[in-house]
């Protein structure tokens, strides 16, 4: 089991993949790793908000447990 990081919309376009699987760590470290693997994410992540298992995540120092899903949401553009 690992952490699933899901990318949406412009974040998916930057990553080039729908999701990646990484080891449990802080949310911050997981996102840094994701950006190291998919460099274009580096420009998009600072604007993004995050959901940890569908709940808004503000504190990125929180440890994301194995089996969790971390969603990467670019700035909303509905309407």
């Amino acid at each position: 089991m690992a952490v699933i990081v899901r990318f949406f919309a412009g974040a998916r376009a930057a990553a080039g993949v729908n999701e990646i699987s990484l080891e449990s760590s802080s949310a911050m470290h997981i996102l840094d790793q994701a950006a190291a693997i998919h460099p274009k994410l580096g420009q998009v992540l600072p604007q993004c908000s995050y959901l940890l298992d569908e709940v808004s995540l503000r504190d990125l120092s929180i440890i994301v447990a194995d089996g969790s899903t971390l969603d990467v949401l670019p700035p909303f553009a509905g309407g």
């Binding site: 919309a9 412009g10 998009v44 509905g78």
Partner: protein, 140 residues
């Protein structure tokens, strides 16, 4: 007393008149509708095609936002729909409708409903331009 008549995240064509019919009431003297339609241009560039992507939580969040607006304003009923997937030029992406006893509350609530949907609902717009480029709106 205020009520959410409907909140829909849908791939179907949105009918303003059908949504408006949901909020009707003989006690309501005012119905205000907003239809946000797909335009053929954006910042001076010609738009060829357009689609929206919705996060799985969008439906639940739309219901929540509609409920907040219904609670905050002196309205009778509110309803709102956001479309996703491919949308043709001229078709509606977002429709918000509000009925109220008096027109000021109807206008104020409809403005706020549209503002909150745009701020709070995880939906994203992708545009393809006539020059061959494309973009996810608001995303560097």
């Amino acid at each position: 007393m205020s009520n959410v008549s409907g909140a829909f995240v849908t791939t179907d064509l949105i009918s303003v008149s059908e949504l408006s019919a949901l909020v009707r009431s003989d006690t309501a003297g005012a119905i205000v509708t907003f239809s946000g339609d797909v335009r053929d241009n954006d910042h001076g560039r010609e738009v060829l095609s357009l689609s929206y992507e919705a996060h799985p939580s969008a439906q639940a969040l739309l219901e929540k936002v509609a409920g907040e607006i219904a609670a905050k304003f002196e309205v009778v009923n509110v309803a709102v729909a956001h479309r996703h997937g491919d949308i043709a030029i001229g078709e509606a992406a977002l429709v918000a409708v509000v009925s109220a006893k008096h027109r000021k509350a109807a206008f104020d609530a409809c403005v706020a409903l549209v503002d909150e949907v745009k701020a709070q609902i995880p939906i994203w717009k992708h545009q393809v331009f006539a020059d061959g480029t494309d973009e996810w709106v608001n995303c560097a």
